[in-house]
Symmetry: D2
């Protein structure tokens, strides 16, 4: 079968011919795989921790949806079930044994398509049924390829709900309708974050440093999410008179952290998800505001099986009404390897269709 492979950590991208692995597991036929920044970095040889499962090459792909071709006697699945495979697989630490490998204590895990385990950019794969999550509504199969990036948002939501418990962090009327959330980044993760937190009843403001294309602007408008382009408008909550009660970052640049801590409200919550390695453009101090205002800055990475389930539920319940299809801006065949290196106009999420 066809498979998209790389040779980590040096990179490169090849359409190879592979056999299905031998062994136990549910046989899944891949329908769609998404490509994201991590895939591109691996392909460019920029991700130092990328490593093969064995031998020298690694099948890419960690965002996927497929259909069960042979349930191999596992009663939890049957042929025809739509399924999403999980990326990170637990090691032996306390948190991994609790099913929370997203909080792995020692880094001793593998991640399909990234480190130590072949991914899903191939026509078929065998999978341990414990790491498959079922999609109930087959009509959402096109959106279900977003489950993997969306599960990160569901963990971010869990983190946010936990941190709010430090004080009665809600409005006079018990809702979140008076609270403004600034989301940094307008890629897939940024947009998914905006959707999920909008559905919690917050005022959501997207922030980036360039104008957006028509497609995204329409997505934001339809979901009543506003936008600040910091290339033309200063992000200064004093000027704008709209407090920054919480912030979530999907960019990963230190300058964004400065923008957040410069503006965030007392008792503000900032959840950091992006990691670009971008160094700050100047030195600065965040501590005075973080301390004097009781600000929380917390990192959130990955998500557990519960978050995959919640992501699928969100797609089934909000995917159509919130126009999630606008996030998928291109479908390609496995032969179109240039999508790993070229960027389309107004590109958000590119998807490879496998059949």
């Amino acid at each position: 079968m066809r498979a998209i492979t790389t040779v980590p950590p040096s990179g490169g991208i090849t359409l190879s011919q592979l056999d299905l692995e031998k062994g136990d597991g549910v046989k899944v036929r891949t329908l769609f795989t998404g490509i994201c920044g991590t895939d591109k970095e691996i392909a460019l040889g920029k991700l130092s921790f990328a490593r093969p499962e064995k031998g020298r090459s690694l099948v890419l792909g960690h965002e996927a949806v497929g259909v069960v071709d042979d349930s191999s006697g596992y009663s939890s699945f049957k042929e025809g079930d739509i399924v999403v495979p999980m990326v990170r697989r637990p090691g032996g630490c306390r948190m991994c044994r609790l099913g929370r490998q997203d909080f792995c204590e020692d880094g001793d895990f593998v991640e399909a398509g990234i480190r130590g385990k072949n991914g899903f950019m191939r026509e078929e794969f065998l999978e341990d049924p414990r790491f498959l999550v079922k999609v109930d509504d087959p009509s959402t199969v096109n959106l279900a390829v977003l489950t993997e990036p969306l599960k990160n948002v569901m963990k971010i939501k869990e983190t946010f709900q936990f941190l709010r418990g430090r004080i009665p962090w809600y409005c006079q009327d018990s809702t979140l309708s008076c609270k403004n959330l600034y989301v940094f980044g307008t890629g897939t993760e940024g947009l998914l974050i905006s959707m999920v937190f909008k559905s919690l009843g917050m005022n959501v403001v997207e922030v980036n440093r360039h104008p957006l294309g028509e497609n995204i602007m329409k997505f934001l408008d339809d979901n009543r999410i506003s936008y600040i382009d910091t290339s033309s408008e200063r992000l200064d909550i004093k000027v704008r008179d709209m407090s920054m009660d919480a912030a979530i970052d999907a960019v990963g640049a230190m300058d964004v952290l400065k923008e957040i801590t410069d503006n965030i409200s007392n008792n503000g919550i900032a959840i950091m998800f992006g990691t670009s390695g971008q160094m700050p453009s100047s030195t600065f101090d965040i501590l005075e505001r973080v301390v004097d205002r009781n600000v929380t800055v917390v990192g959130s990475v990955d998500g557990a099986k519960i978050h995959y389930s919640e992501a699928i539920d969100f797609i089934e319940t909000h995917g159509k009404t919130m126009h999630m299809d606008r996030i998928i801006t291109g479908k390609y065949s496995p032969e179109d390897l240039k999508i790993f290196t070229e960027k389309e106009k107004e590109e958000i999420k590119k998807v490879i269709a496998w059949s």
Copy 2:
């Protein structure tokens, strides 16, 4: 009566003659007042937000212990009671109305001896009984002047205990005995933090960038707290093979934040209390580790009445056995105004005795 005053925000320090204010309240005779970095900054005109209660001058002093001279009919106190006055007084926001002005949402509060309210560096003051906290054990009166700095630590402890709830953040045997806490700063706050967290059963490591004097070293040794002098030894947990599971900062320098995020464990908790305004010596990125390791960095400022009570309880129960008296390194008379500008050898906390 004698009072130590300044003219904020321009500074200066004067021993003045004042009358007791008119009005309601319990009359308290001051026994001891501590002086801290904030007092020195106000005296030097470096604290821009310092402001008088009315007129032009401000009585300094926010760390105090006194004795009730006249309870003025308030039943909650009687003559002879040892009391500690609170610093921050609530405004009208939601959190202030809940008694948690340490989480004030709008900054609309006053702080005795700092902004908008006269402090306690005077022989007597009238006080609203709601803002006096009683010391039960008169034998701890000398240590009770540390209540105010210690109440900050009690809020830090509350914050730590809350944040631990994100996951089962404890050892295999349910205790904290396998967890290492690094405390940055060896001034009063740093040492008090070390004491309180040592009493929770953690391994506590103090960190600073110079050798310590004999007095502090003995204090640390007696309390089985270890010390790293980063001027002679690298703080690198890989080299030391002693993980940094949590960190608390009482320095307030961005370089310390970098040291923490460079070294902290997965799911680590960093609580920031210091604010020196020191800019980083170079640019750096903290996001990759904060995100990939689910690290929490949280600011904690001030404390509520409950924390004053807990501080007094801690002094009464651990003050003697943990040698808290070693933190007080000098007692002075109100006339010794040079203590605001000169630094003693091995100075930690200097105290003014008022009678």
Copy 3:
């Protein structure tokens, strides 16, 4: 206009002619009102705490959905908006001032249609916009009359999520898919509870002591909720080999509390919502199991504005797919006063259509 009134606490039920109250507020035209056990009890004079707003008679009705007829200059609403009015209005206690009158500390609140405030069983009413919650999707207007009973379930969910934090209360794989929830009662509240907790991924078992009609059985089957009829089958988890990890009661009988505590698992969570006043059929001891198994039994009453919002969101997202319309078993005109005293075959929720 027509209005359904009673004379509390003695009861009775009359179709009266009333004028719209004078004063400020958004003018709402009533579309549907639901009737529930509380309405019937007030009508029968069995609810001792029922009381008029002023004078002697009270307009009944606390479950309602309407349409804005005149927004009276309030910018938060416009004509044509579909809205649900809240029942309980805050008093002056700490929790009421936080917007959490569902946790009122002193009982000093009014409840529309129940105590101290006229309800919504009338053609029109004026309402303070703070107590109106907007329905975004007009196609759910028929189901939106279930918002009020459903908001109770949303608070139950909040309570459940909070209590779970005592320990890592989840399955080996981080989800709730291994956890069995027993719901007692198959009226409106019981069925709504089952729906909401099913959507969290739990195995839900409905329990009652009689066979169910075809309509409810189909509702349960369609939602993959199982049913135990304790008139024909013993509720004994040892016999059934299906643990009771959590239980939620919408019956309010002490015998149900016994059934729960006799069967619930270690670290089990029982949330009590029903209050029928039914005395137990025999004396019994619940403490041995509650203590030895670390069981939590917690009462949950009412819900805050956030729960109304969540209820509307749930109706919009799950109402159709989970067949919520099967809960509404009859629509009547305001003239059909016999619906307060007669019970239909297979009746669950009866609704009065006002236009």
Copy 4:
């Protein structure tokens, strides 16, 4: 060596001669063992779940303090260390593997001196160092025999602090000084509960249904804990005008549960620890108040190693000032077997001195 043994579950009490077990472990010489209701029940053959470690007889005793005689090469202890052994030993469930066998999910544990493991009423025993907790201050060795009952209180405190997080459950000034806690039972556990919660700053009221002896009354007075004798005074908070904000039960009778739910405030927290099996004197309904007032009733059993540590810390810091020695009302030699069947006048805790 001498050992006090029984033959569970039939009971009986014998002073036997035994050899020290063979195997690994720290060798501990027993100093004191406490006897409690459980020991008496086992001796009377009333505890159905009591069972031997092997063979037919069981060494009694689960409350103990000893001194390390031979650390057998384990570096965590040295000869002369004062130690308290833990009672419950973990099985293989998720919570046991987390070190929280007090939340054991499947009951698959052993308890020294009670079920499946020999206890400490013998001159010496070998112990796995993981289950020994060190007493730092040798001057508290007499009180340290109370560590085991006190560790239950520390878990109760953990439970209370957790449950308080449901809402801002504190006074206007952030403390607990306005909150009244009623403690039911004046035996060892009741008194220890009163001490610990008094130290949190609450108003504590002890309740029992008979007059107390002079010794206990003095203990309560010295600690400013008040007392209600319900044989002469009705427990009716309306009459007394002192709200019951929280309640902790160390009796275990259903009639106490009724007294609590009849009187407890809105949002009240009731923690149940006692289990006497006493049936209620009449049938009653607790649900109306539990539900309408959002009351929490939670069971708490046993404690984890962290709670043993906290108990030892509490004894070291509060034991002398709070007159904990008054709880120990008699010291006996191992030969005095009648102490298992006879009750002394004003008896609270009886202790056997082994050397």
